[in-house]
């Protein structure tokens, strides 16, 4: 093959390089012929030039082969040989024809219609008859030449002298076809040399396409195919490639020898044949049985079927089915960047140390400068927020379960739940500014009472001292003392009676609770009287005169104390001992409830105070009005063990959380409006968003539920992030933050933004877990007991069982 090609290529070039003798001879003849031809042309050219010069010497315009219009603006038209302008009027005589001349010519000149202008020379030309005839013929689509016969018989340009037996030329075959080519030999030698040197590259050989597996990836396939395949795959991955609908695969019935059950019976055949239209037939063929493949006849509807298939391919609408690639990460909603959610508390900054037992409850003053804490060490302390300095301490004989600072900055007083007592405490001049004290005086007349009380207290103390002095005297005075005691007790009884009457008078509606308001003066007198009795007993164990009285009083005391022995300042033992230790200074009012009060909540306006004693039965929730020394019981019967209550920040709504449910009461109508079902076992605390439409509920079974009150009675979101019971939840007043504190020693801070747009769900993002508190000992797994946000800054206070309060900011 190769050899042949090379030979073919070389045939023509051969003659150039290697002219044979005969060729030399031929070329000589050709040369002679050419010389003759040149001589002839030279002669002819010279003739024609000389003729044209002679004829058109003057008339000729020299502008060349361009329209005369181009020279419209000029007076000349080209230049002659001497360089002078050839004027237009010399060349074109009737050149200046205006429309009038043209119009006149139209009537005067009989040849006007056959006159045309030569655009090259600008001359008028009258068409001859012949020219006209030619023009007409062209117009009518005929051959311009009248003589031309398109249907003339075909005459070959050469003759066949001997019929058609002989070739066109009678040239004898060239000799060189029989002589081996010299050039070829050279080329072969060259190739052989290269082959010997093994330099002959494979590139020269023609590439042979081998067989390959089109659909395999590993098989090496030619580049061209690989690229095509890649492209196809790329399209496929992009979803651009839509596969053609797959044709129906043949089943058993389409077999040439189908099982007998597929063969139609006579009736079926008739039914099939009765349908005329092929499209309406249940299938487009009848199953038939043939013994051999060779017996199968040609399929008459083959073309129709192919056509239908083509129709399917291009008419069938092909929808792209996009498969979504879902990964776990993609499904999880994208959390906003933490930097955008700042500020929120991150680091522990100040530790407030001073309590000697677990700190149950904390509360921050509305100005953000003071912190009050109630502890199991039976004391209340006030701290300066910015330094951690303890400014004040009150000590009692009962555990302080709850403290709450009045949220109204104009009435900065503290409510504290100490045992069965709810105390209203005036933080005092050392903490309040002058303005605040003045405000307080205006708002709460109680405070004034307290101011007066200080003097009384002094009197009392004097009296007491006198008594003590008396104790040092002889027993002769005991009678006097008894009288004094009698007097005092009678006074006290009167006071008590008054006291019990007063609330009855003030509240016109029937009394539904046993809470008693007492001024500190009355309270102190009570204490003193009790103390006196016990002292009496101790001093004169055998004095028969006093015994009766004492017994009576003791019975009374025991009756009043009933079952549990909750006293504000003294235990029974304390009464019997001589020690005086009470810090009543600052206490404005004392409300004695029937059960241990565990939680306190202020209304936002700072007048109403709700107290919760979970075991109180129908007196579990009491609402106290501080400005009027009044207590109300909003509920006639108990709905369960009340855990905590909250006032709505704006509307007259009241939230009561029992163990399983949160009920919302309308205080104006006195009816329940909504019952939220968090689905938890035991609610520990609730808090309401300052906007009022959202609520968070924490439970002892580690759940934190977010409610959208307008949305549903079921939680919008349940968060289980703590490993132990959640004790407290709190919202921030200004920043979109809330937190939950738990027994697992951590407090978790969340970003919880509520949008004004009703359609947008609140955005809740956990932002920080705050560590810091420790277990007081290994056995007691009590972590963070209370958490409160700073009213202005994005700071968080937490109190723990490890006796400390911590500030995170």
């Amino acid at each position: 093959m190769i050899f042949e090609e090379i030979e073919n290529e070389s045939t023509e070039s051969d003659s150039d390089f290697l002219p044979t003798e005969s060729e030399e001879l031929e070329s000589e003849e050709e040369r002679n012929e050419e010389e003759e031809r040149e001589a002839f042309y030279e002669h002819f050219l010279s003739d024609s030039e000389s003729e044209s010069e002679g004829e058109n010497e003057e008339l000729r315009n020299t502008i060349g082969d361009v329209p005369v219009e181009w020279y419209k603006e000029y007076s000349h038209i080209g230049y002659n040989l001497t360089g002078e302008k050839i004027l237009k009027r010399d060349v074109i005589k009737a050149q200046k024809k205006d429309n009038l001349d043209d119009f006149l010519a139209k009537f005067e000149n009989p040849d006007y219609w056959r006159t045309i202008q030569n655009k090259l020379t600008g001359e008028d030309h009258v068409l001859t008859d012949e020219e006209l005839a030619t023009a007409f013929r062209i117009q009518s689509g005929k051959y311009p030449d009248a003589d031309y016969d398109p249907y003339a018989p075909h005459v070959d340009f050469f003759d066949y002298p001997d019929g058609k037996l002989h070739p066109l030329t009678n040239k004898p075959i060239s000799k060189r076809g029989f002589v081996p080519s010299k050039w070829e030999a050279k080329k072969i030698i060259k190739i052989v040399k290269r082959l010997r040197k093994q330099k002959y590259s494979k590139r020269r050989t023609r590439r042979v396409v081998r067989d390959f597996l089109l659909w395999s990836n590993q098989e090496k396939m030619p580049k061209k195919f690989a690229e095509k395949k890649k492209l196809a795959e790329k399209r496929k991955s992009k979803g651009e490639n839509i596969p053609a609908p797959k044709p129906h695969l043949p089943g058993h019935e389409e077999s040439y020898n189908p099982p007998p059950e597929y063969l139609p019976n006579q009736r079926e055949i008739e039914a099939w044949e009765s349908i005329e239209n092929y499209d309406e037939k249940p299938r487009n063929f009848l199953p038939q049985n043939f013994d051999r493949i060779i017996d199968i006849p040609a399929y008459s509807r083959f073309l129709n079927e192919r056509f239908d298939r083509c129709l399917d391919l291009y008419l069938c609408t092909r929808a792209k089915k996009r498969k979504q690639k879902l990964t776990k990460r993609k499904i999880i909603p994208k959390l906003p960047d933490l930097e955008d959610l700042k500020p929120f508390p991150t680091h522990e900054m100040i530790t407030y140390k001073g309590h000697i037992n677990k700190v149950r409850s904390i509360s921050v003053d509305p100005t953000g400068n003071w912190l009050v804490s109630g502890s199991d060490d039976k004391s209340i302390k006030i701290w300066e927020v910015f330094t951690g300095k303890c400014f004040k301490t009150w000590e009692f004989s009962e555990i302080v379960y709850s403290v709450a600072w009045n949220p109204n900055p104009e009435t900065p007083i503290i409510a504290a739940a100490v045992g069965k007592y709810v105390l209203i405490i005036n933080p005092g001049d050392s903490i309040l500014s002058v303005k605040q004290v003045n405000n307080l005086m205006k708002k709460f007349p109680l405070v004034i009472e307290h101011e007066n009380f200080d003097e009384n207290q002094l009197e009392d103390e004097n009296l007491n001292e006198n008594l003590n002095e008396n104790e040092n005297l002889n027993e002769n005075d005991i009678l006097d003392r008894n009288q004094k005691i009698k007097q005092k007790l009678s006074q006290l009884n009167q006071l008590d009676n008054q006291n019990q009457k007063n609330p009855k008078k003030s509240s016109t509606h029937k009394k539904r609770h046993n809470a008693i308001w007492k001024s500190p003066k009355e309270f102190l007198n009570e204490i003193r009287s009790k103390k006196l009795i016990f002292q009496q007993k101790k001093l004169n164990p055998n004095n028969s005169n006093t015994d009766q009285l004492i017994e009576k009083l003791q019975i009374e005391l025991e009756e009043t104390e009933a079952h549990d022995n909750h006293e504000l300042y003294y235990t029974k033992e304390d009464y019997e001992s001589q020690e005086f230790k009470f810090t009543t200074k600052g206490i404005v009012a004392i409300i004695k409830c029937t059960n241990i009060v565990k939680s306190l909540t202020w209304h936002n306006k700072g007048d109403y105070l709700a107290s919760v004693s979970p075991n109180g039965g129908r007196e579990a929730v009491l609402i106290h009005r501080v400005s009027k020394n009044m207590t109300q019981n909003p509920f006639g019967k108990s709905k369960g063990v009340v855990q905590c209550v909250k006032f709505h920040p704006k509307k007259p709504l009241f939230f009561v959380a029992t163990q399983r449910h949160v009920r919302i009461y309308n205080l104006l109508r006195g009816k329940m409006t909504l019952k939220l079902m968090p689905g938890v076992q035991w609610i520990s605390s609730i808090d309401i968003h300052p906007g009022g439409d959202n609520l968070i509920v924490s439970s002892y079974d580690k759940k934190l539920c977010w409610f959208d009150i307008d949305l549903s009675t079921k939680p919008y979101k349940i968060m289980r992030y703590h490993s132990l019971a959640i004790r407290k939840v709190a919202f921030h007043n200004r920043f979109p933050l809330f937190c939950s504190s738990s027994d697992d020693k951590t407090t978790q801070v969340f970003y919880g933004k509520v949008f004004n747009d009703l359609l947008q769900n609140p955005l809740i993002v956990p932002v920080k877990i705050l560590h810091g508190h420790e277990y007081p000992n290994e056995k007691l797994e009590l972590g963070v007991l209370d958490c409160v946000f700073h009213p202005i800054q994005p700071w968080l206070f937490t109190s723990g069982a490890d006796k400390t309060i911590r500030l995170f900011c």
């Binding site: 500020p343 680091h347 900054m349 100040i350 910015f386 330094t387 500014s433 800054q793």
Partner: protein, 488 residues
Amino acid sequence: MEIENETEEKKQTETVQVIFTTKYKEYQVIETPFEIPVSLTRYGLSEVINHLLGKEKPIPFEFLINEEFLRTSLKQFLDEKNLSSEKQVTLEYVPALPQPKQFNQFLHDDWVSAVDGKNSFNIFATGCYDNLVRIWKSGLYKLKGNEIEEKKPIHVNLNQNQNQNQEQPSLILSHHSKPIKSVKWLKFNENISNQKYHLLLSASLDEQIILWKISSNLNSYSILTKFIGHSEGINDIALNPKRNLFCSCGNDSLCFIWDINDKKNEYQNQEENQEENQNENQNENKIIENNTPIASLRGHTQAVSAAIWPSQSSIYTTSYDYTIKKWDVEKQSLVWEAFSKNTIHCLHYNQYEYPYLNFESNQNQNQNQNQTRKESELLLTGHSDGIIRLWDNRIPSNSEESCVIKTLFKSHTSWISSLKWKPNSDFVFASGSYDGSVKIWDIRTKIPLFTLKRNSEKILDIDWLDSQNLLTASADQTVKQIILKISN
């Protein structure tokens, strides 16, 4: 053979050519380049300098390359900065700040919240949470050269001192009804009716600022003026350079500017009148209540935490509302403000020549020098995240925080409570924090030079007595004197 090997090894160790320069004339060495092994640290370099100086007692030096302290070996430093070790390196050296040592402590009855002192008078005042202002003039150690000399107590009985083995305040001023938040010496040895008095300002949570008049021998005191105007507690007071005005900032988010002199003149007149009347009752009747500040700066939305009055016309205040504001005093308007991301608790300004230059005759020369020094106007703020931020206020900007903050100093773990530039220094400052530590910093390095941590009680205030004496007031009820002393 062995020797040869060693020399070869020495040849192999990398060296770098350095030039030692210094601004201290007494420590200057020849300015010829030295070949120094790269592995040397500042200790080794210090030895080299000491060797060149031929000092008997070696002095520790700090080394600066391109205005940055060398804290690692030369090689590490060069590697970090991508500097070639083949080029010549200019090493500036300064004598190292001596290791601070605590020398004496002054016991109080309660937390000490404020301290202000001046060593040239050997006196300092403290404000305490027990509502008392104490003046101390005994027990301060003083440096004379490199020796520490104890100033003998002047007015306190020696025997008593020995018995109790603790310092007693020379004078206790009581009038405030709530804890003191700030004390500032106003003037020393001021002539009032031919007697020399010290004047002291104290601000308290009881919404009052009291101007005390203390006789120069610390025998007696009286109240000159009460400034009442704030509706909540006062956090800080700042005196103007002329010391006739001061600015008070309170929890009620207001700053008031008060005039001292007017009232004082009135008082003098009154006093003269009274002297004419020969009523020598120096009772409370004499106290003037000044209820009218000459100006108020409104703009902060929360409690103002600190203020500083570096030049006659401008006041800087910081607040818990995260802003620093610069005020024009004469126009009573805001010049610019900068925003932070945390509450700011304290600030200090290094242009602010803090104590008493205007009335100290022996420092007049220094004063002139200092007035000409206007290289840097840098503002330090201490934040609730324990980070000290250095602001360059020559680029005032309201837009972005980052373009103003120059450096962050991170080392404290709790609130910064107090910041003070070292007097007569462009670079060194001290900071006190609630984590109980006092740190001394140089702005050319981000690591504190020294950390002093005695206990975990909060540091509430610090003040430089002079450039080598630092007083720290803390919640452990003491004021401590710390001396930066060259260790022998």
